[in-house]
């Protein structure tokens, strides 16, 4: 589809405030992600990371402030800004094929099945087209959930702790897989996590959030190239940065 051609632009949030009743969750968040950049967002548990992503996805409205993509203000959910939530966003009653075909069908793609075959290939799930999500392993389910939204070729991808429920080895494999996938199919990604290693392995930049009420403490560049994987974990610069970031998160 030609969505991408007209869609590139900066994804930004300006002065975002959000409360639930007396609970003040977001207290003036300003962030921006350039086209095809991966912005990792790291924050303590319960600080409002999921809330922030739901506002960016347009699933909820802010009390104050706004979310913009390119020159448009976000006003609701869109297939161009899908969010993949930890746990399943797959439809449990459908086969993997039908789950992946859902988006292209809903958006009027002329040949959903061709898109699905491509994606199953790219996500290493080619043999599982007829399998229902409940019968997949946790890692396969997460790949499938990401593949499901990628079927619409979204310019923006919002990931809410996508690999949080997986064991350490599977998670590392998923990190390498996601880097490879984004190499082939670039998108502006906001990746929310509370795992420092995940943030540093996947992010081009890293935003640090405070505990609730949530503010942006700092935004740093992640000084590692595109070739990041398991070898990076033992790179002294990586180890030092990880310790530094962890210290800042813990002391905030």
């Amino acid at each position: 589809m030609s969505l991408r051609a007209t869609s590139s632009g900066t994804l930004s949030v300006h002065g975002l405030h959000k409360s639930y009743g007396a609970v003040h969750v977001l207290d003036g968040i300003d962030l921006a992600a350039a086209a095809d950049e991966v912005l990792a967002v790291l924050g303590p548990s319960g600080c409002g990371k999921s809330t922030l992503l739901r506002l960016v996805a347009g699933l909820e409205a802010p009390d104050a402030g706004r979310v913009t993509f390119g020159d448009q203000v976000v006003a609701g959910p869109s297939p161009r800004r899908p969010m993949v939530v930890q746990g399943a966003t797959l439809f449990p009653w459908l086969s993997l094929h039908d789950n992946l075909a859902w988006g292209p069908k809903a958006t009027g793609h002329p040949d959903p099945s061709a898109v699905v075959v491509d994606l199953l290939e790219a996500t290493g799930l080619a043999g599982f087209a007829d399998t229902r999500p409940g019968q997949l392993s946790g890692g396969m389910r997460q790949r499938a959930a990401i593949a499901q939204v990628l079927a619409n070729r979204p310019p923006v991808l919002l990931l809410d702790e996508p690999f949080g429920a997986l064991d350490a080895q599977t998670r590392l494999r998923m990190h390498e897989w996601l880097r490879g996938l984004l190499g082939e199919r670039p998108a502006t990604v906001v990746l929310v996590t509370h795992d420092v290693e995940e943030a540093l392995l996947l992010g081009d930049r890293l935003a640090l959030l405070s505990p609730r009420p949530c503010r942006v403490l700092d935004v740093l560049d992640v000084p590692f190239g595109a070739e990041r994987g398991r070898a990076t974990l033992s790179d002294p610069a990586f180890v030092a940065l990880k310790a530094d970031v962890l210290e800042r998160v813990l002391s905030s």
Partner: protein, 224 residues
């Protein structure tokens, strides 16, 4: 008892009471009459109960208003509906079917509303973020996601509907397993009464097994 069953199903020469059901062995006719009352009223209960339950489950205000109403109505025993159905429909087929409908519809409405309200928010969000229009959510997300719960309600409704058939057949029916049993009581045929009860049990069981078999394909995903 075997003999009573034989009499009941194949007749023994037509003992009869004037003005009451004839024991002419027309078991097939009685069973057909009961089953037709049951299935037609159940069909209507599904047609009305599922959409109504969906509307209740999907609208918070609807649930607030109508849930106590439905729960209250549900606690009226089926026999307590008999007088009013006679007033509304008179003696006859209408009253009998109305009672079966009443018996079947409440569990269907309640199970549908409940399971529609429990559809996880993240599935609805996922559908919206895949480009699904809001007007398609009921058909594409809520109904399939709620289907296992709806099927449970249908099974309950089918069984309660069948149990209401006998009450409906108190309303002056000339045919039906229940009518046959009341007539048997009038002539003191305990054996025929018991065969009638067994007939209720067997047919109720067949109905439930058939419904489960028919729905298995659609709800298989939910049992693991």
């Amino acid at each position: 008892m075997a003999e009573a069953g034989w009499d009941f199903f194949f007749g023994q020469g037509g003992a009869s009471l004037p003005g009451v059901v004839r024991f002419d062995g027309a078991a097939g006719r009685h069973i057909a009459a009961s089953v037709s009352r049951w299935l037609s009223a159940f069909g209507l209960a599904v047609g009305i109960g599922v959409p109504l339950g969906l509307a209740l489950g999907l609208s918070r205000r609807g649930a607030d208003l109508l849930d106590p109403l439905v729960q209250g109505l549900r606690s009226i025993p089926i026999t307590a509906w008999l007088p009013i159905s006679l007033v509304w429909f008179g003696l006859g087929e209408g009253a009998a079917r109305y009672l079966v409908f009443i018996g079947a519809v409440f569990p269907i409405v309640i199970a549908t509303a409940d399971s529609a309200a429990r559809v996880p928010r993240h599935l609805v969000d996922a559908a919206l973020m895949l480009g699904t229009p809001v007007r398609a959510l009921a058909r594409r997300v809520y109904v399939p996601a709620a289907l296992p719960g709806i099927v449970t309600g249908l099974r309950l409704g089918l069984t309660l509907g069948w149990m209401s058939v006998i009450v409906g057949e108190l309303a002056g029916q000339q045919s039906g397993v229940g009518a046959m049993m009341f007539a048997a009581r009038a002539v003191g045929r305990l054996d025929h009464i018991i065969v009638g009860m067994a007939t209720f049990a067997v047919i109720g069981l067949i109905g439930d097994v058939a419904l489960r078999a028919a729905s298995r394909r659609f709800v298989a995903w939910s049992d693991g």
